[in-house]
Amino acid sequence: MAVFEHFQNLYDIRLKPRLLRSLIRDRVPDEKHPFSKPSELSIVVSAVKNHGLLSESSREAVDPKHMENWKSSIDAWIERLLLLVSSKMPDKCWAGICLLGLTCQECSSDRFLASYSVWFQKLLAQIQPPSDSHFVKVASCASLADLFTRLSGFSNIKKDVTSHAGKLIQPVLKLLTDDSSGAVWEGAVDLLCSIINFFPSSVHRHYESVEAAIVSKIMSGKCDSNISKKFVHCLALLPRSKGDEDSWSLMLQKILISINVDLNDAFQGLEEETKSNEVIKHLVPPGKEPPPPLGGNKMQGETSNQATEMSEQLILHRISMLMLCCCRMLTNPYPAQVIVPVRPLLVLVGRVLMVDGSLSQSLLPFLTVMQREFICSELPLLHLCGLDLLTGIIKRVRSQLLPHAADVVRLLTEYFRRCALPALRVKVYSILRILLISMGVGMAQYLAQEVVSNALVDLDSIAHGCGEASSTPCSKAASEGLLLPSYRKRKHGTITGFSEEQQGGVGTEMEAVKGKPITPIAVQTAALQALEALLTVGGALRSECWRQNVDLLLITVATNASNGGWANEEKDIFLLSDEPTSTRTDFQLAALRALLASLLSPARVRPPYLSQGLELFRRGKQETGTKVAEFCAHALLALEVLMHPRALPLVNFPSGDHPDFGQGFNCKFPKNIFSSGLKNNSPFPRGILGKDEIEPESNDDELYSSWLGNDEETEASASIPDKHLESRQELSEKDGRLSTEDHQAEKHPSDLPAGAQFPKEGDRGATDAAHMETGGIKDSIMAQSERVQEIIPNNDVRLQDKDVMVPTGDLTANVVEPNKGKIESSGSDSSKATPALSSEINNKVLMAAADANALPSDQGSLLTTSIVIEKGKKLVLEYNSDASKDSFPDIVDGEPDSD
């Protein structure tokens, strides 16, 4: 018998039928024996899932005999299940239904397609009247939902399945209306959702009745919030069953009107009466019929009867559920093009958010204290829904928010100013974040002030280290007492400097907690995230007024967050329950992310807290295995580019340059001596400086490679004797001379015919030569030293220095000022040596340089070009291949073609 067959290992296909048979034998109930342990079923489920016992497929080819064996065991399994489903004992029936659902999910496609309609009939019977066990109904609904989920993968039988699904709608609706158990409703609504999702057209015929059934459930307020949300979700999906624009718009319109009506009741006396008309005016154009009420006419009658006895509680429940429904309708994808009524939606959101429980003057007497108290207690929830709806609108209309953006921003900022509850503030911050990221710079300009001022307030308690703050009480909730020590400690740390660790922080945090408002950690996290978004999007444009403060704030917060912080993370996990631990990690992460944004966001000067930031990230990276470490590694990578900015040319660009020069040679020999000799010229910043003498620019950088090249050359020069040394030096010095030349060039009309530039360039060569002695030694010194401030003695030096410095990307004002001076002076003492001499020297030097080391930088390659001048084109090729400029030959070939 097959059961006794040997199998090789866990993966052997022969094992599967064996396992399946023993499951059937031992764990799956049968008719004869009573079914005592339902928990056995979960063992069956996990065994089937883990081993793929029903999959009937194998990765490698197998003996058909084994496959046959497996197949027969599955046949036995299904036979048993069907037997169980028809069993009269409800528990066995239930077990059979559950396992059949599992089979729908797990079995092979062929088997599924062959038998799904049998299974469907079996399951359908179980949700209809004769059966009355809740368990069986719920399980059948779930199994049917799985059946349809699986069927959605087969497009070829769609028609057939749709008709099957159509048969299901009535019984499901019956379950919704007749049954009273929440569990059954839940199962039924889940099933309904799957059908609408996968086979929308099957619901088409029953559209109204489904809508009525669901709406009545939502309006009744009898089910718990979880199930209500499922109903809401289902209602939001419903228009998809028709799939056209009108049904979506109509549904949304009906819901909005319904919300509006309920709001009238809820906000009686709390707002001006005109408000409600405003929404209606936008929703229903004057002169048009309002749509039928939500859930059909019958529904309307019912609710209006109830209206009198409807409790405040119920109204608010309905409002929040319907708003959730709007939100779902907006965020769920819809297959047709629809018109989102942005204006009415915004007016509605505005209406909800503007009510803060204060009485409107004219309507004072209508409200009892009790009513008002209740409304006020429920308002935050309502506001939360309103904010969610706003998020939904923003997500849905994307770029089309533009015409309304100003309104949204005004609404939000006004609300933000008044909003004081943590959960709401978190939500507002998150909306601000979405707006900033999605709308870019323009939005950043609008929101910057608001975000910054609010974040400053919210982060004040941790950021505000010194002075008054150290004596003023810490603002932490008692519940967060455990988190306090570290924060406290950090405060003191900030004052004295980042390196300083404070002892005895534990003692201080027990100081009085009164006085300042308490800012929960979630709000602080959200504030940090909003700042991060702001810096990411709009850190450079018109940010002068807040940027400094924010940078300081963020480094302080990040330092504080880390100080007491991540060393204790492990401990925290044991000390605290899960939730605060996670928010604490979130907070640290948010602080680090915001710090990174502040370091990376464009600025004119070096980020003032760069080194502290680096230190923080380095420390954070050592927290092996944490999210913090992961992020710190990322941050260090990102900051590396800040240290060593690179303006990368298109692949092989430097050598791509050559053909041009080379070509130039062929026809216009003399000019190119100079152009190549003077090659290392005018990167962006110089041009800017030369141009309009504005403040130093840091948004551009020296080529990283030129920096390297400079360095290397200097080294090389040390090994070349005497005259070579000097002239060699001249070359490396050209880096420094750049601005000079720019300056000069400026004085000439720059669109001179090419030939006319000869003398000018000769002058320049001379300039270089004239400076070479002084430049020589300083230059090597320079290359070694990394700091600007150390080298002030000589003008030339400073220019050199600039080259060294610029790559670090933080050209500060005081570095550049002297440079300007230099530009003038060197401009005046140019043209002392003769052009001929300088060019000769130049070339010799170049030879030497090329011999000494094939320079990897583009400077190197340009050097080789000038050698060509003397040696001819052949040599160029040689040199270039030496320097492994691969693409060079290609280009030389290519050029004549294009001519």
């Binding site: 339902p38 979960s42 528990d91 559950c98 659902g101 999910q105 368990f135 719920v138 399980a139 779930a142 989920t149 699986r150 993968g153 158990s181 889940d190 996968f198 994808p333 819809y334 297959p335 093009q337 018109i339 989102v340 089309q400 015409p403 953006a405 709308m439 870019g440 323009g442 939005m443 300009q445 850190g539 450079a540 444009l541 464009p602 303006a647 990368l648 040319p649 298109l650 692949v651 791509g656 053909p659 041009d660 216009k668 152009s675 010229n681 990167p683 962006f684 041009g687 800017i688 309009d692 948004n699 080529l703 720019d742 060039a745 720059s750 669109d751 090419a754 290609d890 073609d897 294009s898």
Partner: protein, 445 residues
Amino acid sequence: MEVVIASSPVDAGIGCWDLHSGAEQLRYRSCTSTPHGLACVGQRFLVSSQLRDSSSSSGTILYWSWNKPQVEVKSFPAEPIHPLISNSDGTYIIGGGSSGAIYFWEVASGRLLKRWHAHYRAATCLFLSDDESLLVSGAEDGCIRVWSLFMVFDDIGMEMAKHPYEYSFSEHTLRVTDVVSGYGGCNAIIVSASEDRTCKVWSLSRGKLLRSIDFPSIIDAVALDPGEHVFYAGARDGKIYIAALNAESTPSNIYGKHIIGSLSDNSKGVTCLAFSMDGILLVSGSEDGTIRVWDAKTRNIVRIFRLAKGPINNVLVVRRPLYSNFQTSANSHASLSRRHVPLLPPPLSKYVNSTDEIVDSGAITVPQTPSSDIMDAPYLSSHVLTKQISELQQQSSAATGMEVDRLKLDCKRSLEMVQKWKEMFADLHKFCVDELLGNDQTQTQ
């Protein structure tokens, strides 16, 4: 499919070629485009503003869908529109009028959302910054202005602001011919070209001129290297100059300061430039009616397309969605186009319509296919099973109900069993009695 589309001021239609295979696609008919007057709206359709004889006061804007050569929609804005652009979502079309006004239309409804006076002279070019929140416009009087689109729509904010624009650059002395902006959000650079033979580089974050480059000839088109190492400037002398941004340059090479090389094919003036998605192929359109595709790396011509005898004034590289490909079978194509490609939107309206302000204001969203749902659709039954098992173990009411049912059935069956046993017992009893009695009788007999 990445395609090159090109149009001409003479009526040569809009040419369309597959960039990589070189195969010519459909040619869209009857288009005499203005410079910078060709755009692709959200990959869905082509739009172009038309040159008109000066007699007619209104302008013309035409739409073509991808798969039909005829003009499908015609709009007649209040004045001739020169430059025309669309945002990447394809929700808005922005046009610059000959009076210097800028028009802002919503594509889906055709409504003119905004019209504002941007320049004193006709607008010549428009460009959206990379986050599409800032608009850069250039005009005939050499003025370049940067607009925040939010500000434009914020009437209240507009009143409070000193001036409606963010920046106004007036360093160019003659007509601005092209404006492009680079990568980097608020820290991006803007490169502009003008008939004064200069290109100027501006900082967006600072609103200042960074660099001015003099060219030997008038530059009509500018394209930024995607790495912003250099930019390419198409000149009227037929060369495409390469000018340094971050690249090093010799101040004094043959062309002038900052210009580090050129691409040249001895053609007539270069009027328009566009980069392909990979940032390597540079497409240029020329006065002689040809379109050249250059490899920016090797500086060779890779391909040449020919549109017409007359000049070309617009070249775009766009990704064309595959569903409009004709290879797809007629059937599936029909169903696709019915479901996913809505018919072209209505024509653009002439005036800002203030009367239906209250009713309108809907955002029209493009259809989304809920395709992902199927992939991540969860299977329910095992969840339900575990939930129910735990309920069973906790003896909840529903579980007890089922238990009761079971017990009832058990009880019933047991009763039946009892009945059976009873009957059997009775039978047996009777049998035994009969047997015994019978024996007795026989014995007694």
